[in-house]
Subunit: 340 residues, 4 copies
């Protein structure tokens, strides 16, 4: 069986596991106050060209989104997100469970359009009844998006400018950030993101770690952020587990290097799919490939390959997702291409 | 100045105020346990042809929606509503503040289409990832809708059938229910609503009362509902204020009688608007009239008449709302028509 | 039957009801933006000697507590209250339902002791683990307390000083404030309260109104407070109902005048109880009298008088409460004394 | 420096880390649906003698408490806990942030007394106003407690009987459960706990794992529990990390074996402390030792040994905690004893 179901079906990159092994019996303080966490934060600050950044390690993506968003919003505010955003659909109402509305706006291939955002905010404040509505208090984008697409630097700059005009923070969900940085199509760097957003996270779970996401506040975290992390059950006692892994990921550019493998393998697979006449649902430039399969064809393929159901396209077709990762072997791509 | 801004700009219908005056110095127990509240409930049960109904009086509409919805939903559930529903937009995130998502689906003139509802539910359960999504736990409709439109009995029956198939309660927001029952176009009665929904409320605030909404559970209220009412700050110490008013409203059919005045005055105004070439945004059959005005025309009109901004139609036009009520005088309609 | 069960068993003071009647058909804007609400606020500002105060009218006490406390606290904060505080026990968890802990500290006859408060705060910040604990973000006191007792000016000043030292707001729940101001024992005035607290409310429900509490921010309300009021279902459409009543209550010192009746009647009853050898549970100086009754004696009394169960004293005795109000007649006191 | 600060200052037991290494590149499905998680659950069911148990792996203790408690409580309910319970104090208000009150009752050395519990429940239902109060919906105990003490089988049986009489679930927080099972004083087994409680968790973080707690429902988990886990950000993508570790912990009785080390080392240290005249704050029988130190003595000791501040005892004395763990070396105990 070939596995293309998701980008988290292996354990950790061997370098991370080795470092966990090496440091295992060292006695370290808890809750992220250990020296490896400090080292990791310093390396991330350098990679972001952002020496003042406040950094916190959390365990998973939904958790990170909920903690950050609920910590930054005022009681009367909600968060703007694309209707396809992870927080809009696939987090089981985590944001709402903290008391805040996700204000959904239309997407283009998973992305928020700067002009739509501008219109939404302008319309809101022009509405004579806006005191009876949820105030837009924050903007959430994912990069890469849930459809594997990327913002251009120009798009991100324009979104950032709108947010700054309205004085609301811009938050970038980087669950697959490495794949976005490593893509051939990428023209945004980590320092760009640190300069243009108010908070973002660098995903570890999907890029080489057993678990872990690094939340980066380029300027300053809200007061008592750690207590809010604790309150939401997101403060790991053995914070070393996260610090050690991120230390390894940000040593010798490992994060970017292993991300490139996902891109190369995805690109080869995508090229083959196109050549063999498969219909892409949309053309993403990262590690996720969305294909429209005829249903019987899908069932046949399922016998040799794992993949994800995405959505029903029409009564006889389904959109499915193939995902590569830092761990995908080129020989598995070749074997997959043989099957097409 | 002529007032058509909303349907709550006067105090109470004189019969209600008189009854408050008459009973004022009687010593009554609190929290809705007084004899007038009991009388009122009994009269409502009769009007609904629903002798077993559990009934509670609450103070206002947003409060009633939040208390009922949060009391009926499980933690992992949200409430389906039209994207134009009052809970979707104009309640400042009251539902989300109780931890639950409003699952917005498209509307047709403010109404949920039974087929859209069926599709939403079917698609949800077919989605392989639905365990990571908010479960649809309830359906919210308003009748009349926020656009003054009405469900037909056939539509309500079909929505009810879908809800029962999926075993989720159907909740009808009747903030303006009297106007819906009194409309010439109405073919749904109170007993129909009691038979087809699982919970609904009969609006008092907009139909003759100083404040007050009657929440009706045709079958049975959830256990300890009164404690949840208290928890959300919705339990009035002097419950008599609500009981006495609803007792008066449901004596000698007063509720329906005074509702008819709003319909008659609105119908006359609507006919005149059409005759004079005004463009209706949509044709509602109750007490709210939505008109597309050219912006300078709107400014001129504003000098003699109050009305509500609804939304921007295009750069030079605006949709405005004129509302009549139980208290609107026909002579004010005539004066308004003169101005057109 | 004689009624001493609570202080909200009648309707409104006749002057308030008359004013509702007089203004009933005036067309007024909604949500507290009417002219009577403005007038009432202005009169309250004068009574408080606090010309800059931001004032909002809400419907009931539990609601007012929940809206204010949840609007002022940060996510990581809770509110300090006496273990006997209304929010600690008798509001069905309203504060917790907004996500915040009530940090209970011991009471002395219903009051917080300034030194206990100081100790609590000092101990909290000295605790090496306080980042894993709920931050004390506000202090709640009630005046009169739930036991009818009153803070002295010296006590209130010391509590205020502690709060200001720790930079946390002091909130005074004045559900029965008039009775506290009218008591023979009172040495705190409305201007004192406005000077020493950061937020307080003047109770209407228990002192002459059908419903309504006036929330007073002597300095400034939090941004978008009205949206938070709306979000919690506490914004009355016909805000006039509250504005008109408070306008009447603060005209010609009516609020204080009618409060005095409760004090006079309570004082007479208390004197008689003592004279006849009844054991007071504690000696309150306002309109609530707590008496320890032997259980069979209690059952006998129940046949002629209504009163409230307070708590079990021991297996054969119960603490009960007798409450007077603005509406209590001296002849009912006399009749009651006859029965003792 | 000698480390006795807590029981989570090392990484994982080598057997767990080895198993993570061995399985690292296996491709496994996510979210706890992998084969190692299934194996681990099966082994835990056997250890609990509870073949029908529903088991879920979560990441940390505060998270597990919040997810379980908020999933089991109704909106109008709170959870009873000792005033010293972890959820009462050291979880930053995690329970309240889900909308529920922690109903604190007095403790005896960290334990709830069955009679106190019975009294609390009886008093609640006898209170005529209990509809205005938070319903006790669940009981939380920790075993060992936060003070290292243990319930006897008789105590646990009586608490269980009270809960069953009142039909409320009994939840046991087993963050340090292994140390409780391994104690010389223990007379409760895992099957006892499964028989007497309705839900409990077996702590991994403090007993050999990098992270992870196993939540066990001896009967049945609530419907859609996994969605509530997801909603609170507690569903690990790479669930294998937890499954593999618990599989190792429950292979060949490893969990109990390594727990015994903590007990042996603690017992030796405690004996020495007593022999040298140190005052124990209370006599615990597990891996935590609470000692009252004179403050200058404490400062001297701090130069060679790490330990935890517990609370201020009096102006010149402090209660500190020394903790051993599965990883504590007897030679470190000897070195520590040398210093005393």
């Amino acid at each position: 069986m070939l596995y293309f179901e998701n980008d988290y079906c292996e354990g950790a990159h061997p370098a991370l596991l080795q470092q966990l092994l090496t440091t295992n019996m060292e006695k370290l303080p808890g809750y992220g106050t250990d020296s490896y966490s400090s080292l990791a934060k310093e390396k991330i600050r350098q990679a972001c060209n952002c020496p003042q950044a406040d950094i916190f390690f959390l365990v998973g993506g939904t958790q990170t989104n909920a903690v950050i968003i609920s910590s930054l919003l005022q009681k009367y505010e909600g968060v703007i997100a694309a209707s396809t955003g992870h927080i809009s659909i696939h987090e089981a109402g985590a944001i709402e469970s903290t008391g805040h509305k996700v204000l959904q706006i239309p997407h283009r291939k998973g992305k928020i359009c700067p002009q739509s955002l501008q219109n939404y905010l302008q319309t809101f404040y022009q509405d004579a009844n806006h005191n009876h509505m949820v105030f837009p208090g924050m903007v959430y984008i994912s990069h890469p998006t849930e459809y594997g697409t990327l913002y251009t630097k120009s798009e991100l700059s324009r979104i950032s400018a709108v947010c700054r005009h309205y004085k609301i923070p811009l938050y970038l969900d980087g669950a697959r950030l490495g794949y976005g940085l490593a893509s051939e199509a990428a023209n945004i760097t980590l320092p760009d993101i640190a300069a243009l957003t108010d908070i973002f996270y660098i995903g570890g779970t999907k890029i080489g770690a057993l678990c872990g996401e690094a939340a980066v506040f380029p300027n300053k975290a809200p007061a008592h952020f750690i207590t809010m992390v604790k309150q939401q059950g997101a403060l790991l006692a053995k914070g070393r587990l996260l610090g050690i892994q991120f230390d390894a990921l940000f040593t010798d550019d490992l994060y970017l290097k292993i991300s490139k493998n996902a891109i190369k393998t995805a690109d080869k697979l995508k090229t083959a799919l196109k050549a063999k006449g498969y219909r892409l649902y949309l053309d993403s430039s990262t590690n996720q490939i969305f294909v429209i399969l005829e249903n019987t064809q899908m069932e046949t393929l399922r016998q040799s390959v794992t993949f994800s159901f995405w959505e029903t396209y029409d009564p006889t077709h389904t959109i499915v997702r193939f995902a590569t990762s830092w761990a995908t072997k080129m020989e598995d791509i070749d074997a997959f291409i043989e099957l097409l």
